[in-house]
């Protein structure tokens, strides 16, 4: 039997994977993927809880998250393309002109 807690644990694991990805990856594109994983991990949680409570709100939230994630991707990819055009790399370490 798969209960709510399983979903939530899955969600937590995915979230952690996303987090680790955010911290470890040096490529901007992979960073973007990792943040998507983060958001979708939460989506799973929302959907499961929504089912558990028999309440639609959670699913609505999940939809909104999907929508926001999509627009994020749009904006993010746009920025990255510009960056790549200028610098020819998507390595994070290439962005250190501002510090201190």
């Amino acid at each position: 039997m798969i209960t709510l807690s399983h979903y939530l644990i899955l969600s937590a694991i995915l979230f952690s994977i996303g987090l680790v990805g955010v911290y470890r990856r040096k490529n901007l594109l992979l960073l973007l993927f990792s943040t998507e994983i983060l958001l979708n991990a939460v989506n799973i949680g929302f959907a499961a809880i929504s089912k558990f409570y028999g309440d639609l709100t959670g699913q609505m939230f999940a939809f909104f998250i999907v929508a926001v994630a999509a627009s994020e991707v749009a904006v993010g990819l746009g920025l990255m393309i510009v960056w790549y055009k200028r610098r020819g790399t998507l390595d994070i370490d290439s962005m250190q002109s501002m510090h201190g």
Binding site: V22, M95, Q96, H99, G100
Partner: protein, 618 residues
């Protein structure tokens, strides 16, 4: 009478301000004449007042309110009673003489006008001092004479030694003034007023300890002005000033202010025998102490200064044993003959181009006959030989000491009388008689201006005859000062006189004998005693070594090491620490996106850990 009072008081001030107008102008005889005239006016007023109060009356006026704060009310009030009138007479007489004398003495000085401005200002301050009817007013005069003394000692300010001596005098006096100030505070908080009459009325119902404190602190003030041990060193150094100044300020008037204070506050002192005894003992000590230093000194003016010191000691003994009127009497006679002595010394200095070493003089009697005569009169008076003024006052002091059973004091004073006679005539002998040593040094002495000698004449006359006024003086003074008859037998009385006269004459005789034969041998100068006395018991050296230098050193340490390196450095340290921590915390801002994301993670982690492990009661 009020008019006379104000005239006596303010005439010198007017003179001073008038002279001050010309202060930075070249010499102008008018200043000298104007100030002298105004002083003469003041003298006349003083004499009128003296005659007026001689029969027991008093003049008491209030000019205006000075300070009024809380319960403290201090008016500018002036009182002329018999003590004040005597002081006024002494001050104006000596001042008038000195002013006239100075016209000649300062003849060639380019700061002629400034000199008279300060000299008259001094007289004004002194008048305030003696005429004030309250302790605060006295303090005004007290500080005022200090200021003028500072300016006049340092009159030739281009000389390092003069300006140094001026500062020394001022600062030494300030130390004592603090004591006086504390005394005044004590009086105010316990008597509720600073008026003499109000304070003295309440003496009877005050606590003995309190009175002791009051008198002790006031006496500290007196010690400074009257240069009593241990605050005496400034007086000898003050001889750097022009000689008329020494005559007026450092012999006749200002230095006796301390004695005046004790006399004025006699209702307080007479009920505290402990302090009075201390006053007397210190006086006796200083009398001998100073006389001993005068024995060997080679400096013309310093010898006289030490003699002044010694005579002040006499006065304090008199005041200390309760014979206030005797103290005042001696104060008066002393003022006359000591001023005369100084002025004579001034003539000598003039003649010798400001040379002071008496061993470079000798045989001046031929060139300066009149000066010699005047100085000898003064010296005889100082030595206390009958019938000169000194005899009457000094003898009374010895008698009072003896009669009040202070035999030790009497003995000291008695010996000192001999010493006094000796050093006085040592001086006279070395300066006026014997070998004409000045020729070796190429001096061309000459007698002073005639009018200077004439100016000295009144003092000479007074030095001779003042003593005969003893009875009228007593008659006058008994209105304000206690005059008790001493119960000693006629035999003792005469014995005392004879014994005293004997030692004085002995001193004179020894001096004349010794120095007419060429004085002491060189060997004497190598002995320890001689060195000790010659170096003033090493006291100035000790002060310099153990007070001045450490003070300077400590100040520098406070500044360089404490203020800059600790107090200020702490403040700067706090500031730089904050600034440096800014530099350190910049590492957070590495600009690397990974790091920035990690910081977010760290933040989250801390929050989560806090959420789990930190759970305060809701």
């Amino acid at each position: 009478m009020e008019t006379y009072l104000y005239t006596a008081l303010f005439a010198p001030l007017v003179g001073s301000l008038f002279a001050a107008l010309f202060a930075d102008k070249p010499k102008n005889l008018v200043t000298g004449i104007a100030t002298s005239t105004l002083l003469f006016v003041s003298w006349i007023s003083s004499v009128v007042l003296l005659l007026h109060v001689a029969h027991g009356e008093e003049v008491h006026v209030k000019l205006m309110d000075w300070i009024h704060a809380g319960g403290l009310v201090i008016p500018f009030g002036f009182i002329v009673d018999q003590v004040t009138a005597t002081m006024m007479f002494v001050v104006t007489t000596v001042s008038a003489v000195v002013h006239v004398y100075s016209i000649g003495y300062m003849d060639h000085d380019k700061s002629f006008n400034r000199f008279f401005a300060w000299l008259s200002a001094f007289v004004f301050s002194m008048m305030v001092l003696v005429m004030s009817d309250n302790f605060a007013g006295l303090f005004i005069g007290w500080e005022g004479v200090g200021l003028c003394s500072w300016a006049l000692i340092g009159f030739w300010y281009h000389k390092e030694s003069a300006s140094w001596a001026a500062n020394e005098a001022f600062i030494m006096n300030r130390i004592a003034d603090l004591g006086m100030l504390i005394g005044i505070f004590l009086i105010y908080w316990n008597f509720g007023s600073l008026q003499y009459d109000v304070v003295f009325e309440q003496v009877a119902d005050k606590d003995h300890g309190l009175l002791m404190m009051v008198t002790a602190f006031l006496f500290i003030g007196a010690m400074g002005k009257s240069a009593q041990f241990p605050l005496h060193t400034w007086l000898a150094d003050a001889m750097e000033g022009p000689t008329p100044v020494s005559a007026l300020i450092h012999a006749a008037t200002m230095v006796t202010a301390g004695v005046y204070l004790v006399i004025r506050a006699n209702p307080l002192y007479s009920v505290v025998p402990e302090v009075s005894l201390f006053v007397a003992s210190l006086g006796a000590f200083v009398a001998m102490f100073a006389a001993s230093m005068a024995l060997v000194n080679r400096d013309l003016k310093r010898i006289i200064a030490y003699s002044t010191l010694s005579q002040l000691g006499y006065m304090f003994v008199a005041a200390g044993v309760g014979a206030y009127w005797v103290a005042l009497f001696h104060l008066m006679t002393h003022a006359f003959f000591k001023a005369l002595l100084f002025l004579g010394a001034g003539n000598v200095m003039h003649a010798m181009d400001d040379e002071l070493d008496i061993f470079k003089m000798g045989g001046l009697a031929k060139k300066m006959q009149w000066t010699m005569i005047l100085m000898t009169i003064a010296s005889v008076a100082l030595a206390g030989i009958y019938p000169f003024a000194g005899f009457f006052s000094k003898d009374k002091i010895l008698e009072a000491a003896f009669a009040t059973d202070h035999y030790v004091l009497w003995t000291i004073l008695w010996i000192t009388a001999g010493l006094t006679a000796f050093y006085s005539f040592r001086l006279v002998m070395l300066v006026f008689f014997g070998e004409e040593r000045y020729k070796i040094f190429g001096y061309h002495p000459h007698e002073a201006y005639r009018f200077m000698l004439w100016a000295m004449a009144p003092l000479a006359v007074l030095a001779v005859i003042a003593g005969f006024f003893e009875h009228s003086f007593v008659h006058m003074i008994e209105h304000v000062l206690p005059v008790e008859e001493h119960h000693i037998s006629t035999f003792t009385f005469w014995t005392l006189i004879i014994v005293t006269q004997a030692i004085a004459l002995g001193g004179i005789g020894f001096a004349v004998w010794k120095y007419s034969k060429g004085g002491f041998s060189k060997k004497w100068e190598e002995t320890f005693i001689y060195q000790l006395l010659f170096n003033q018991y090493y006291i100035p050296k000790i002060y310099d070594e153990y007070i001045c230098k450490p003070y300077g050193e400590l100040s520098r340490i406070f500044w360089k090491d404490l203020d800059l390196k600790i107090v200020d450095a702490t403040v700067d340290f706090i500031a730089t620490t904050i600034y440096k921590s800014g530099m350190v915390s910049r590492v957070v801002q590495s600009g690397n996106l990974s790091n920035m994301l990690r910081w977010m993670g760290v933040g989250l982690l801390i929050l989560l850990l806090a959420a789990i492990f930190y759970s305060p009661v809701r």
